[in-house]
């Protein structure tokens, strides 16, 4: 069991997964989102390659209305 922080909240995962799998788990696969892992951008092209590991801090963002 590992624990990661996604958008400021703790999430438990069975084992390390790749970013794509995490997005699927969070029902965000296929959505227009951007991911940052431990302060670094994870490009879309690497979502299947980069693993989310214990203690990682992730930010998943979207575009919303703003001025």
């Amino acid at each position: 069991m590992i624990q990661v922080i996604v958008n400021g909240s703790a999430h438990r995962l069975e084992s390390p997964v790749n970013v794509r799998a995490l997005l699927e788990k969070l029902e965000m696969a296929g959505k227009k989102v951007a991911v940052e892992r431990n302060g670094e951008i994870v490009p879309k092209s690497l979502h299947r390659e980069i693993l989310v590991e214990d203690g990682d801090r992730l930010e998943i963002v979207v575009a919303v209305g703003g001025g």
Binding site: N7, E27, E36, V62, V64, G65, G66
Partner: protein
């Protein structure tokens, strides 16, 4: 394209840029943006709501990035680091799109820009290859610093964000316009159409607004009013206004050939006697 706004080498037909916040729903956002004629729309970057309705409509569907130029902002950022991270996420989100609106705030009550942090973030973003349009104070020296750093446009506030107080310091704005070669856009403070027209008459290259439209009783109608105001103000600026004269009235109609018998007030004696009585 007649008299385009040119930002970072790209031409835009509209000099009005609009925000997409504070609308009732995406339908109203879309209708207001269309009525404004704006081609550049600002958007905010926020954390996804994990676990919320995964199928709810998104802003990107209401305003397709294929039809509008997105200008992701850093609203809510109070440090250079947060602003830079936010825009790196925006660039990833928008498939490499690099035109951005930098704003680093100094205070949640006034939303006044923190200029030292803004300058720091601007330097980093330019180095990272971003095309930076930057919300800033109306200080002409700091605006010049931002230009020297390589920003593609400066966007001084006319008055506080969301205040609708209009252009409080046209003199400073004029200095910024006169000193800089890159486009100067008023960002923040416009309350109604005349404010936008005044900004354009001063020689601003454009106006960015959100609340003035979104908080109007009829946002879509106000969006149209703003479109007309920006166009009218720009035309007036290009036409070159007449000089202001306090005195020395020059009538618009011929001074010869009137049927009037005298050019002076017939009752001038009465007026002077009443004045002496009052004194």
């Amino acid at each position: 394209m007649k008299d385009p706004l040119i930002v970072a080498g790209k031409s835009y037909g509209s000099r009005l840029l609009v925000g997409t916040g504070k609308y009732r729903d995406f339908a109203e956002t879309r209708a207001a943006v269309e009525a404004s004629g704006a081609e550049i729309v600002t958007v905010a970057i926020r954390r996804t709501n994990i676990g919320q309705n995964a199928n709810e409509p998104s802003l990107l569907e209401a305003l397709p990035p294929s039809k509008f130029t997105y200008l992701p902002n850093t609203a809510g950022c109070y440090s250079a680091d947060d602003a830079v991270r936010t825009l790196r996420l925006a660039r990833e989100l928008l498939d490499g799109h690099d035109l951005v609106k930098l704003e680093v705030l100094g205070d949640p009550h006034t939303l006044y820009p923190n200029m030292p942090e803004t300058l720091k973030a601007a330097a980093q973003l330019v180095k990272d290859g971003f095309k930076v349009m930057v919300y800033c104070s109306d200080d002409p020296i700091q605006a010049q610093m931002l230009e020297a750093l390589g920003c593609v446009a400066v966007m001084p506030l006319a008055s506080l964000i969301g205040s609708g107080m209009g252009i409080l310091n046209p003199w400073n704005l004029q200095l910024v316009i006169d000193k800089l070669k890159i486009p100067v856009l008023v960002d923040a403070g416009v309350g109604t159409a005349s404010d936008a027209a005044v900004a354009m008459e001063l020689g601003c290259d454009g106006v960015l607004m959100n609340t003035a439209i979104a908080a109007a009783r009829e946002p879509v109608r106000m969006a149209h009013a703003m479109k007309l105001a920006v166009e009218a103000g720009r035309e007036a600026f290009l036409a070159g206004r007449m000089p202001k004269k306090l005195y020395s009235a020059a009538p618009s109609s011929p001074t010869q050939g009137t049927i009037a018998t005298s050019g002076t007030i017939a009752t001038s004696g009465t007026i002077s006697s009443s004045r002496s009585k009052a004194a």
